[in-house]
């Protein structure tokens, strides 16, 4: 939150409309999420000139209120109204809290031309029992009738709520930093606040001795003030802190916060008398304890940094001070700490202890050394001025911070090439000056030094191009396309297969689903048919998303249940997704679920899903992919599948998936599912080749066998195929019979066989000979009977 009235102290923006300025700031790269102002139209300061009781009420009053230009009659229920009182008047059209709009009205038949307000009605105070009973707000005697009461209250500041990108928090999420950003946008100069003060003869270093025993504190400065008088802060400090959401405590605490919001550098104040004369900064010891300012005991780890008095921790560096050295109303002497700590460590500690504060966030994002000393001096100045402090001479200093200057060399052409537009050299010079980036010219080269306050800028041409372009204006970019060689765009690898299969399954009537990769452990044990182990997340968000799935079946079954419970009758689904096993082995899988009527008009009997329809859909897919004659189905069993309606799918005799009906114990309805490894389908297939159909007539023969009920037809077909040889073109099942005419545990399957000689007409005798061979062969090899007509 940035208070624009505060910013005015460092840069002249009096000619700016603050709403328009917010747009300029946003365009230049820092998103002003909202412009907050307490201003309310049609509010005016009035003075009550006459109070009378309402004729028709025992608590309402009828007031005459002078608002300068005229006298208004207002009915008011507050008990504290009296003549001569200066009040806030909301006139017709004013919009108060909760979008309450003031209108002229009659209250119990008495005309009322507005409303006298309490602060909570304007959103300036919380509505509580207490504020409610205070009645309307009384303004001071110095309030001028007819003027804006919000301005009179000093609450008319405009605030910007910033959405600052991570890297830029530190150079503009404080008022001086923001002033620099405005200076660049408006091409103006920044004036830093006053920090000159007299020091007493006593020296700091005769009172304190500093040791740093960690590499996580590259910069540590300390200064001392004494004889402070603790009391309330001056109004402007209280108001400004309050406006950005910080509660005023006392002059000393407020000054430390105030300076942090000026310079972005958090400070810590120790009660010097409690601290002693030694400061040792070191890594915390594992298990070391400290009671922090909030009275809680904190257990530290060796990742934390602590400030100690030589022995015991007095502060969790950058995160929170210790109770043992807290500044209180009796404090006389303060040690001011201004330091930089390793950001990663602060972030880690703050998040582990759950102590994210304005200060720890700033430390955690990294600080510029440029302001470490300035902020400390500014604090001394303010403490001297507003707490009557005496400042001791000198600074305790530990300085191992890297002050290497970041320098970038570039030519204007390089920048223009990157942007794709032409910005002339003169304009580039202007932009750099606006940014307050010192530069030199050498021929057509620019040599730019990046100021340390811009921690976010790395010494690359890209970074300079961005700074120049954002000030020059991104709206000046043009629309071009990359000048590259012509080439064809393609789906690569598994994406290609996914697209092809997806389209096919959609055209076969299945709707695509997308489910979560993370499932519950319980789910992972359902519909399991492979011997795979799941990746278990070490630190899951919740139990229902704790393992990485190896199969899509449990997820797609959930989608079925979701739809079933919403009374959807026909459910046809598929999903193609990646799965991972414990060894992080990736396998893309195709999964489907089918239930209900596949094809119907609703008023005649349709085609309902059964095992063979699902098998047909799979064969359709596999044939389309070019795997004809390479796949087969084998009886199988798997968890949660119907033991008699479950098959494993084989490609080149290797299992690639499963299909079957869900076990009636799991689901009473007829629900079928399948899953195939897409990886297994990513193999070579034959190229397409034209094949002429035979010109010679085919010969057809039918035959039926009686066999045990549990014998797979495939077994018979294989024998027929083998004996039929090259002349046998096709085997079709055309009838299946079970019933009285044959044995109880038997079935009869009839096959239609087609023979063709391809390049000649077959002779009847030739065919008959093979046909009988087939019959005899099947009878013998499969131990079945021929079914006579």
């Amino acid at each position: 939150m940035i208070n624009l009235e505060w910013v005015r102290e460092y840069i002249d923006i009096n000619d700016q409309d603050l709403k328009e300025l917010a747009v300029k700031v946003t365009k230049a790269g820092i998103n002003v999420e909202s412009v907050i102002t307490n201003h309310i139209s049609n509010l005016i300061i009035g003075q009550i000139t006459h109070v009378a009781d309402h004729p028709d009420s025992d608590h309402l009053h009828v007031c005459k209120v002078d608002i300068g230009s005229q006298i208004k009659q207002i009915v008011c229920g507050a008990s504290n109204v009296r003549e001569g009182m200066k009040v806030i008047v909301a006139l017709e059209g004013a919009v108060l809290q909760d979008d309450f709009t003031i209108k002229k009205s009659k209250i119990r038949n008495v005309e009322s031309e507005g409303m006298l307000c309490a602060l909570f009605e304007l959103g300036l105070e919380e509505k509580t029992e207490e504020t409610y009973h205070k009645g309307i707000h009384e303004l001071g005697k110095d309030a001028k009738v007819g003027e804006d009461p919000i301005r009179y209250l000093g609450l008319d500041d405009t605030l910007y709520e910033l959405d600052v990108h991570k890297h830029r928090n530190n150079d503009c999420y404080y008022h001086i930093g923001f002033a620099y950003e405005l200076a660049a946008i408006l091409n103006r100069k920044v004036t830093l606040p006053e920090d000159l003060f007299d020091e007493i003869d006593e020296k700091v270093d005769s009172h304190i001795h500093l040791d740093i025993e960690t590499d996580k504190c590259p910069y540590y400065l300390a200064k001392m003030v004494t004889d402070i008088e603790i009391g309330p802060s001056p109004q402007f400090i209280q108001k400004r802190l309050k406006s950005v959401g910080i509660r005023s405590i006392n002059n000393v605490v407020d000054i430390s916060n105030y300076v942090m919001l000026e310079y972005g550098q958090p400070l810590h104040f120790f009660d010097k008398d409690k601290l002693g004369d030694h400061i040792l900064v070191r890594d915390a010891k594992e298990g070391e304890n400290i009671i922090t300012l909030d009275g809680k005991e904190r257990k530290l780890t060796k990742e934390d940094i602590v400030i100690t008095d030589g022995k015991n921790p007095v502060c969790v560096a950058g995160v929170m001070g210790g109770a043992n050295t807290e500044v209180d109303e009796h404090t006389k002497t303060i040690l001011i700490e201004s330091a930089i700590f390793a950001p990663t460590s602060i972030r880690y500690t703050a998040s582990r202890l759950g102590l994210k504060s304005e200060a720890s966030i700033r430390y955690g994002k990294g600080l510029s050394y440029e302001y470490t000393e300035k902020a400390m001096k500014r604090a001394c100045y303010l403490l001297k001025k507003y707490a009557n402090a005496k400042v001791l001479t000198g600074i305790i200093r530990y300085d191992k911070i890297d002050k290497t200057q970041k320098i970038v060399e570039f030519t204007p052409q390089e920048i223009n090439k990157m942007l794709g537009i032409t910005i002339c050299e003169e304009d580039m010079e202007v932009e750099l000056e606006r940014l307050d980036f010192p530069y030199k010219r050498n021929g057509d080269k620019f040599i730019v030094t990046i100021p340390p306050r811009r921690l976010d800028i790395e010494p690359y041409i890209n970074d300079i191009a961005e700074e120049i372009a954002r000030l020059y204006g991104y709206h000046n970019l043009i629309s071009t396309l990359p000048k590259t060689n012509v080439r064809e765009g393609r789906y690569i690898g598994d994406v290609k297969y996914r697209k092809i299969i997806s389209k096919r399954l959609r055209s076969l009537g299945l709707t695509e689903t997308k489910t979560y990769t993370l499932i519950s452990e319980e789910m992972s044990h359902t519909f399991s048919y492979e011997n795979k182990q799941n990746v278990v997340l070490p630190n899951p968000m919740s139990l229902d998303k704790s393992v990485v799935r190896t199969s899509l079946l449990p997820s797609i079954y959930q989608v079925y249940q979701y739809n079933k419970s919403r009374k959807v009758k026909d459910i046809f689904l598929y999903e193609i997704s990646k799965t991972y096993d414990k060894e992080y082995q990736e396998e893309s899988k195709i999964c489907g679920l089918l239930s209900g009527t596949y094809m119907t008009n609703g008023w005649t009997e349709g085609v309902s899903v059964d095992f063979y329809l699902v098998k047909g859909i799979l064969e359709n897919l596999l044939d389309y992919m070019g795997f004809k004659n390479r796949y087969s189905f084998e009886r199988s069993e798997a968890t949660d599948f119907h033991p008699g309606m479950c098959a494993s799918i084989l490609l080149d005799r290797k299992p690639i998936g499963i299909l079957g009906r869900i076990h009636p114990k799991t689901n009473k309805e007829d629900v079928y599912m399948f899953e195939i490894s897409m990886n297994a389908l990513m193999s070579k297939t034959k190229l397409l080749k034209y094949k002429e159909v035979s010109k010679y007539p085919s010969v057809h023969k039918d035959v039926a066998f009686i066999m045990p009920r549990n014998m797979p037809s495939k077994q018979i077909e294989m024998v027929i195929g083998k004996i039929g040889g090259r002349l046998l073109m096709d085997i079709q099942v055309f009838d299946i019979y079970e019933g009285d005419k044959i044995g109880k545990d038997e079935k009869s399957i009839a096959y239609a066989l087609t023979f063709n000689g391809q390049n000649r007409t077959l002779e009847e005798k030739e065919v008959t000979e093979i046909f009988y061979k087939i019959i005899d062969g099947v009878k013998e090899k499969c131990n079945v009977k021929l079914r006579d007509k």
């Binding site: 365009k27 230049a28 790269g29 991570k166 890297h167 830029r168 950001p343 955690g364 090439k417 990157m418 942007l419 794709g420 537009i421 976010d456 890209n462 970074d463 191009a465 961005e466 954002r470 991104y474 709206h475 043009i478 629309s479 396309l481 990359p482 000048k483 590259t484 064809e488 765009g489 393609r490 789906y491 690569i492 690898g493 598994d494 997806s502 399954l505 959609r506 055209s507 076969l508 009537g509 709707t511 997308k514 489910t515 979560y516 990769t517 993370l518 070490p538 968000m541 998303k545 979701y562 739809n563 919403r566 959807v568 046809f572 689904l573 598929y574 990646k578 094809m599 119907t600 008009n601």
Partner: protein, 351 residues
């Protein structure tokens, strides 16, 4: 003889007049024109006549025969027509009854959007690529200029699987890194990589622990920020209409510099101000930028020779905007009553 013929003609005509069915007609045909019929009988009787008489009566009989044949034939056609018409009338269907539904599956709504985006980029010569969802830290962060301890990692809130080394990818950018490594610093790159990503967000109307990004990468010689703007223009106009404009705002990402945020002019209110654009006239839809020289370098492309741009859209956000969807969970629930309305193309409408 003559009278006999005339009588026969009369008799036949009378019978034919009363014929109603094909069967009856056939009976008459057999009765009179058949081998044992009266006409044959008359012809047999001719043998006994003189030559002159034969001439006269022969013609008369033949005429009668031809006449009857023709009459029967035309009657036959007529009766057949009548029968057929009757049959057709009986076969009439109620064409307003429901059709036999040919099932068509729908794409997942997100996939539909992604496929539209892919179509445009494929036509501009971009490959469509994907990579592993269980990723190594190296590809997900390290090589994207996000070293260990960087604050961007905190914000990403990653699902770690094994220490800080193995994780569920928090962005699709590792696919860009992998593609660059494959390119070996030598081949120009044009690719998009739509894919699943994972972050530790609680699922609600606008957040999801699993979501989809559509990222793209171009690496070539002389690639500029203006090229990025033109490319984004193309895709935005395709998806949201040809009158849509794009705006770049400065932004920040670790792997691009300069970085921009992409806004499009509000398609809903034409920039008059509405809830969709929060009364600003603009909607943020993507992050993008010029590939950071460190990223190029780490993936083997010399930043002095090569330059590139990268961009990333959130598929859910785009789909929510395009199809006016208010709750992100819609994409992952698959309510068939909703998703089955997405079984058609819509590009015919946009031209």
């Amino acid at each position: 003889m003559k009278e006999k013929i005339e009588k026969l003609r009369e008799e036949m005509n009378q019978k034919l007049e009363n014929v109603e069915t094909l069967q009856e007609l056939n009976d008459i045909k057999i009765m009179y024109l058949g081998k044992k019929g009266p006409i044959v009988e008359l012809m047999n009787y001719m043998k006994e006549l003189s030559v002159d008489e034969k001439k006269v009566f022969g013609k008369l009989i033949n005429d009668l025969k031809t006449e009857m044949k023709n009459r029967i034939e035309s009657l036959c056609i007529q009766l057949e027509m009548e029968t057929l018409n009757q049959k057709l009338e009986q076969e009439q269907v109620d064409i307003t009854l429901p059709a036999t539904k040919i099932r068509i599956g729908s794409p997942n709504i997100l996939e539909k959007l992604i496929e539209e985006v892919e179509e445009v980029f494929l036509s501009m010569g971009y490959d469509v690529v994907d990579g592993p969802e269980i990723e190594e830290d190296k590809y997900n962060f390290e090589m994207l200029n996000i070293p260990k301890g960087h604050p961007a990692r905190d914000a990403q809130d990653t699902f770690y699987i094994e220490g800080e080394e193995i994780l569920l990818r928090s962005q699709t950018s590792p696919v860009q890194v992998r593609t660059m490594l494959k390119g070996g610093g030598k081949t120009p790159i044009r690719m998009i990589c739509p894919g699943k990503t994972y972050r530790r967000d609680d699922d609600d109307a606008t957040h999801s622990h699993q979501f989809m990004q559509i990222e793209g990468l171009v690496v070539d010689h002389d690639i500029s920020l203006s090229d990025l703007k033109g490319t984004i223009d193309v895709i935005v106009k395709k998806l949201f209409g040809s009158s849509i404009e794009t705006r770049f705002r400065p932004s920040y990402y670790q792997f691009t510099e300069p970085s921009v945020e992409v806004d499009i002019s509000c398609f809903n209110c034409k920039q008059d101000g509405c809830n969709i654009c929060k009364h600003t006239g603009w909607i943020t839809i993507a992050g993008a930028g010029i590939v950071h020289p460190n990223v190029l370098k780490m993936s083997g492309y010399d930043p002095k020779q090569w330059s590139g741009f990268a961009f990333g859209f959130g598929a859910e956000r785009m789909a929510m905007l395009k199809y006016d969807i208010k709750d992100l969970r819609v994409f992952y629930n698959t309510d068939l009553r909703e998703s089955n309305t997405f079984d058609r193309r819509e590009d015919f409408l946009n031209d």
